[in-house]
Amino acid sequence: MMRQTGNSKAVEDWPTLLKDNARSGGQTPQPARSPERAVWQFRAGGSVRSAPVLKDGDLYVISVAGALHAIDVVTGTAKWKFQAGGQVHSTPSLFADQILFGSDDGKVYAVNHDGTKRWEVPTGAEVWASPVIRDGVVFFGSADTKVYAVEASSGEIRWAHELGGRIYSTICATERQLYLGCGDGKVCCLDSSSGRVLWSTATGNGIDSSPAVVDDLVLIGSEDFFFYAISATTGEVRWKYETGLGIASSPAIWNDLTLFGSKDGFLYALETQTGKLRWKTRVGEVVTAPPMIGDGVVCIQAGGTFALDTSNGKILWRAGLAGAIQSVPVLAGETIYLASLSGEIYALR
């Protein structure tokens, strides 16, 4: 959704993890060809768990140690660094000229594009989920069990609503509703203007995955080994699909398919409307990261980086770099950017 702000600048919403349900991270779909060489390599100075995001020629990467790096994608050099007050596991979100992310110090930070802090807002515990932005309001959950709504311009809290467990699931914000999973095992729908719970649906264990919402379906995995499709309107379970272990990976949507990983090591492609398995492919021993969709290619990090044909699950190529268990590759033109658990950022072409 595009909207006009007070200064007439077009501002694009960032309503879910990595911007949209395809987990595009702000980019248009790219062909994701097999890389042949490293263009540059950057050391983040510590492990990277979160996904990089790209905007206007800058790659934003946050190390677990709490350093947000703005990297020039042409040269691979740092433009600036911002240090948060705690560790960071949260994938950043972009809104207007701000970079937003949560920290283990309990704060959500909004950082300007020049590396200066615009605002910070405190919560009662660590924030691993990504902030999402819709119509100028930032929504996020905290491990203090609360969902927060905050003014994107000022950081002023509009409302906070307590749920039944720790929140590590990134919200998916539609026009009037917020959808997320909770550590108590419930998938929740909240009214975005008030925080009031409209419905909640129990699963068999806690939820670490973040939802996607497509065609009145909330799509989300649970640690009870099932992947759920739940009516966005009523909370009724439409279908569920059983995998071999818990599901922390967040789904990506491509055409009529929903793609996600399971801790059983497989990447799954289910028909979104029915839950019928189209294909599944083993990509590692454990998969917890969300997939990233390119042009007919799905990429996922699972002890390495894998690219699979979205139509049949065939592995097209794999790269031994970037073993980050939760990060996501960034596809931009002919270049792929990868972050690793060891703290290396690679630009591959």
Binding site: R49, R166, N205, I207, L245, K263, V286, I325
Partner: protein
């Protein structure tokens, strides 16, 4: 130095000087001739606690079996809650679970829960059991902010999703992010030895154990271990509390015996470790500690409780030996050069192969150090159900 102990287990001949590195699969060029001198430096002036290992009930191991506690790889929290209550009452002889827990935990305590996420997600300390332990500790009046669930590696904790699955308010701490990162350890509490000519010869104790918590509830899993034979209560404490421990392996040799037990004697780890609750919902009988191969992971639905880690690990060792016999796998005690492989893939698919000469004797060695009882005839092993 009053509290400093200096142990010379034996004299070393000539250890080969090898490449420095953390990869345990770097191979030794020749067999080490003997255990090198191991220097232990505990916290100065620390007053040992009577609750410390072997604790209030030496030689007693309570085993609760309930097949329905795990069904299709899913652990039932209500059932493990009942199993834990039964185990605690039987261990202590108390009539209520609250009285049983009060033997170990006071409302003013800072309680560390030492999980074992190594091997997650296929086999790790079940969040369902950890939740029940937290609930029991909180029922005594310990506030959530004074309960810390911890282990060495954050990324392993992350793999098991403990952060999302455990109750609000408690702290979940990975002492270090990855193998190479520093910090989180005490420079004055350590084990010092040169096993294979490595450059960094010290392993330091985690600060969270030395400075933050005053009671530790140890929650090991029931697993075979390619180097130490089994990983149970002793190894979860020792190698999960000290850093730089991979250096004690150079395939196919390992100094887990006697180092595991020796580390457990270092104060304040010894005194603070007051209770051991072994998660035997799953039992890894080959490929441990990290295997994700479900063919090697049974689901017996067992929970063990003890204050004596040596007795507990002795029972664990017997259980895994029994399973291996039933599956036609060689004993954990076997030291046959033909069973050693360099190929990790072969190890992960063939239960007759191993990467190291396993060292299950580390349990008896720990008994010799006074940490508990390893003689099966002396162990009060009670098998019950709910």
């Amino acid at each position: 130095m009053d509290r400093r102990t200096f142990v010379k287990a034996s004299c070393i001949g000539s250890a080969s000087l090898l490449m420095q590195g953390l990869d345990p699969m770097i191979r030794a060029e020749s067999a080490p001739t003997a255990v090198p001198p191991i220097e232990l430096c505990g916290l100065a002036d620390y007053k040992p606690s009577p609750l410390g290992m072997p604790g209030l009930f030496p030689a007693r191991v309570i085993e609760i079996r309930e097949a329905n506690a795990i069904v299709r790889n899913r652990v039932s929290q209500p059932i493990v809650g009942r199993m834990l209550e039964r185990a605690m009452k039987e261990l202590t002889g108390e009539r209520s679970a609250r009285e049983a827990w009060a033997k170990f935990i006071q409302p003013s305590d800072i309680v560390g829960i030492k999980i074992n996420p190594s091997g997650a997600p296929a086999c790790c300390s079940s969040p369902e059991i950890v939740r029940e332990i937290i609930s029991s500790v909180q029922s005594l009046g310990v506030p959530a902010r004074n309960i810390v669930v911890y282990d060495r590696y954050s990324y392993e904790i992350d793999l098991a999703s403990y952060q999302a699955l455990l109750p609000a308010g408690i702290r979940i701490v990975g002492i270090q992010e990855a193998f190479a990162s520093g910090g989180g350890y005490e420079s004055n509490v350590y084990c010092d030895a040169t096993f294979f000519g490595e450059w960094e010869t010290r392993s330091y104790m985690a600060s969270i154990v030395v400075q933050e918590v005053n009671k530790i509830i140890n929650v090991p899993t029931m697993k075979d271990h390619s180097a130490s034979g089994v990983t149970g209560a002793l190894k979860n404490l020792a190698y999960g509390t000290f850093n730089n421990v991979a250096r004690t392996h150079r395939a196919p040799y390992s100094f887990t015996n006697p180092l595991i037990g020796m580390m457990c004697t270092v104060e304040p780890l010894r005194s603070k470790s007051v209770l051991h609750i072994m998660d035997g919902m799953r039992q890894v009988w080959h490929g441990g500690p990290l295997t994700q191969v479900q063919d090697f992971i049974d689901q017996p639905g067992i929970l063990l409780a003890a204050t004596d880690p040596v007795a507990m690990d002795t029972i664990e060792l017997e259980a895994i030996e029994k399973t291996r016999r039933e599956r036609g796998a060689p004993s954990l005690w076997q030291h046959d050069a033909n069973s050693i492989t360099l190929n990790t893939e072969e190890f992960h698919r063939d239960a007759s192969k191993n990467l190291f000469y396993r060292q299950p004797g580390h349990i008896a060695a720990a008994a010799h150090l006074g940490l508990g009882i390893a003689d099966l005839k002396q162990i009060d092993h009670r098998v019950l159900s709910v």
